[in-house]
């Protein structure tokens, strides 16, 4: 069969990262192709290229033989492409029908003909087999139903190519079944479906062929799913040559420093418990959305705990409040450095001093000399590359911002537990090694360190022990001697369908 959709030599580079390198493959009409890969393998970037959200540095998307050059989402929609992102694009206060027909309301003299609107949408929804009242507001629907409405948009647009990014991550198994029937139906109608999922069962159930990406490169294109095994796909997803940039070294592990018992909250309904010891680096691995960051925010008190208790060196931390955690010796370097970490528009010096200054500011009056000394000390100690301590922190590179946030906490005396969420996201290799070295040094001084990371090699490279989370619960734990990429990734993949 002739190829209907083709990616030709797509390359996209971000500063310091090659997101996609020379990716090419073709898909015939009337087929479903699975897109596989770890977090950060380049799946989302590829889909964004298709959706016109990003423009590749080189290469092109070819539709029915015609090379396309999308520069905006609109271009891609007009060309008959519909991308269903993980974050839904619906207007919550409008009805299902309005959302589906947005921009193309049936109207007379500018007055919307609601009767007409609702009956047309009802027909479409019936046709694709989605059971939802076109008159209900999006905000009243469950997340799963919203997802179905989003997918129904593709049917309304009569898209030729439909990309689904992790469509079942928020669906129940019955809802998933409806989705699968819809995908089968799209296939029969001759559409091309790009299906991104971590759930290999679904890939086997739905796809005619599949593509594995790793580090932005196309590893393999299986033209048929026949003869493929789950094991083989997992190996292809992770099987990279391992270089030792980690420099892990053994340490003596001491008393428990952080004990978390049955902690739960709004975004993490299932209570979780774990322990981290003095001198230990404890890794937390899981797919995006597995609940790792949510758990850490609960432990730190950034979000309110509904249940459970947190003890630092045996001492219970009362209430969910970052200030209490800091006083007790528990600090957090947050996942989203930009939103939750750095104080934009403030100098490096202030970013370091923001927490610790309370110790040397009599009656709340700043001791500028002391702040400057501390900033200079840590700039030197952690080798923060900045023209001066007065530099606005937004002008520093990611790695140096991370070092400044680390300095903020190291300047606090008596930190016993450091939680660091995605320590090296968006940081180049050289700075990564420096940050690992800082973490080892802290662990050797007896700090307990919890590292959350989506990068499997990193977690395996630097941790003494790894806890895996999957769909909001802790699913497995491995000692360093038991680490294998396959077993850790297998524990993270949500396949043994529970939902």
């Amino acid at each position: 069969m002739a190829a209907f959709l083709e990616f030709r030599n797509i390359t996209k580079t971000y500063p310091g990262v090659k997101a996609l390198t020379d990716v090419s493959f073709a898909v015939p009409a009337g087929s479903v192709i699975g897109l596989l890969g770890e977090n950060g393998a380049g799946k989302s970037t590829l889909i964004k290229t298709l959706g016109g959200d990003i423009v590749p540095d080189s290469g092109e998307v070819v539709l029915a033989g015609e090379p396309q050059h999308f520069t905006a989402t609109r271009d891609s929609i007009l060309a008959g492409i519909s991308v269903v992102h993980q974050e839904l694009q619906l207007v919550p206060e409008l009805t299902v029908a309005e959302n589906l027909m947005l921009g193309r309301f049936p109207s007379r003299a500018g007055v919307v003909e609601f009767g007409n609107l609702f009956s047309r949408v009802r027909a479409i929804l019936n046709d694709v087999g989605i059971d939802v009242d076109p008159r209900s507001k999006i905000i009243d629907l469950s997340i799963g139903t919203r997802q179905m409405v989003e997918i129904a948009k593709a049917a309304v647009f009569d898209a030729k190519v439909i990309a689904l990014d992790e469509p079942t991550s928020s669906l129940s198994s019955t809802e998933s079944e409806v989705l699968f029937r819809l995908v089968d139906r799209f296939r029969r109608e001759g559409k091309v479906i790009l299906y991104v999922s971590h759930r290999l069962d679904e890939i086997f159930r739905l796809c005619d062929s599949c593509v594995v990406l790793r580090d932005g490169k196309l590893i393999v294109h299986h033209e048929t799913m026949e003869g493929l095994t789950r094991h083989q796909l997992v190996r292809e997803m992770v099987g990279r040559e391992i270089q030792d940039i980690w420099g892990w070294r053994g340490r003596t592990v001491g008393e428990p420093r952080l004990s978390v018992t049955n902690v739960s909250g709004t975004k993490l309904p299932v209570p979780a418990s774990f322990e981290a010891r003095a001198g230990e680096i404890l890794g937390f691995f899981g797919l995006v959305g597995a609940g790792r960051s949510e758990l850490m925010r609960l432990v730190y008190g950034a979000d309110n705990r509904h249940s459970g208790e947190v003890r630092i060196a045996g001492q219970q931390v009362q209430a969910s409040d970052p200030r209490r955690s800091i006083r007790a010796g528990l600090v957090l370097c947050p996942e989203d450095r930009k939103a939750d970490g750095i104080l934009q528009g403030r100098s490096v010096e202030e970013n370091v001093a923001i927490s610790t200054r309370r110790h040397f500011s009599p009656f709340g009056v700043l001791n500028k000399r002391r702040e400057a000394d501390i900033a200079e000390e840590f700039i030197k100690k952690l080798r923060v590359r900045t023209p001066s301590r007065r530099q606005d922190i937004v002008n520093l590179s990611g790695g140096n911002q991370q070092k400044v946030i680390l300095s903020r906490w190291l300047a606090e005396k008596g930190v016993k537990v450091l939680i660091i969420d995605e320590p090296t996201r968006g940081i180049d290799v050289g700075a990564k090694a420096e940050i690992y070295e800082i973490l080892y040094g802290l662990a050797e001084e007896g700090m307990a360190i919890v590292v959350v990371s989506s990068e499997l090699p990193e977690v395996m490279g630097i941790s003494d022990r790894v806890i895996v989370m999957q769909s909001g619960r802790i699913s497995a734990e491995f000692q360093r001697s038991e680490f294998t990429e396959e077993s850790i990734l297998a524990a993270a993949l949500p396949d043994r369908e529970a939902a």
Partner: protein
Amino acid sequence: MQRLKRLLLGDQGLVVIFVVAFVLVSVFVPNFLSERNMLGLLQAVVTIALVSCTMMLCLALRDVDLSVGSIVAFAGMVAVMATNMTGSVILGILAALVAGLIVGLVNGIVIAKLKINALIATLATMQIVRGLALISSDGRAVGIDNENFFDLALRSFFTIPVPIYVMVIFFLIFGFVLNRTVFGRNTLAIGGNPDAARLAGVNVDWTRIWCFALQGLACAVAGILLSARITSGQPNSAIGLELSVISACVLGGVSLAGGRATMSGVIVGVLVLGIAENAMNLLNIQAFYQYLVRGVILLLAVLLDSLRSRALGRRV
């Protein structure tokens, strides 16, 4: 052109505008530079200046306080009525300060603890407090029995009246608070990035409550001086003050998006407004047209803020 742009949008842009405006007005408006007029100008901006000091903090927090005009009127009424009742100016002043502080604290607690948007919360207190001012006096102006009260506004040292000293002291205090205290720096940090500040261990609620409490207190001081100057408590005074104060702050480079404020900028902002008003009075421009000019100045101020943010954004 490019140079001019950089000059106007840079850190010193306000000072440039101020100097230009000052020189132009000095040259073209007769009597502007006289000592009498200068003192009059400064006295005229005292109310706006005092309230701007604390409004600067609220705006730096990414919040806003619309109730300032009402608090000024209410505190002025309280000062006059308490003085009349007790015969003691000191007690009158104390009563007014307590009244202002209480309103400010209520604002702060509602905003920080009950998580009500500052715009809405202070829109409500603005009306409530104005209502209190009107109710307490039955809507009429109240004269002052105790002549000592007038001294607050009319007494001069070295030919300079008391309110101007108070204003200068306010500038010094709040300049210090903003730049040299944990409270001031935390205020800027919260406005710049509330989540990051909270996770860094800043007591966000406490800081917000005190910003609004200080705002109430500053309004009370302004209210006392105002009623001394107009020799009575007027329940309808200081209507629309919040807009003049916000204009002055924005003109002074305070970002409405929070996190950016300087005392020197606010001082310049206040003076620019004062000069514009003063010059229009000297030129006998009708009050109606003055509204027009004030509106245009506000618009230009906001435009300047937006242009500056965009210029900053590009640099990042």
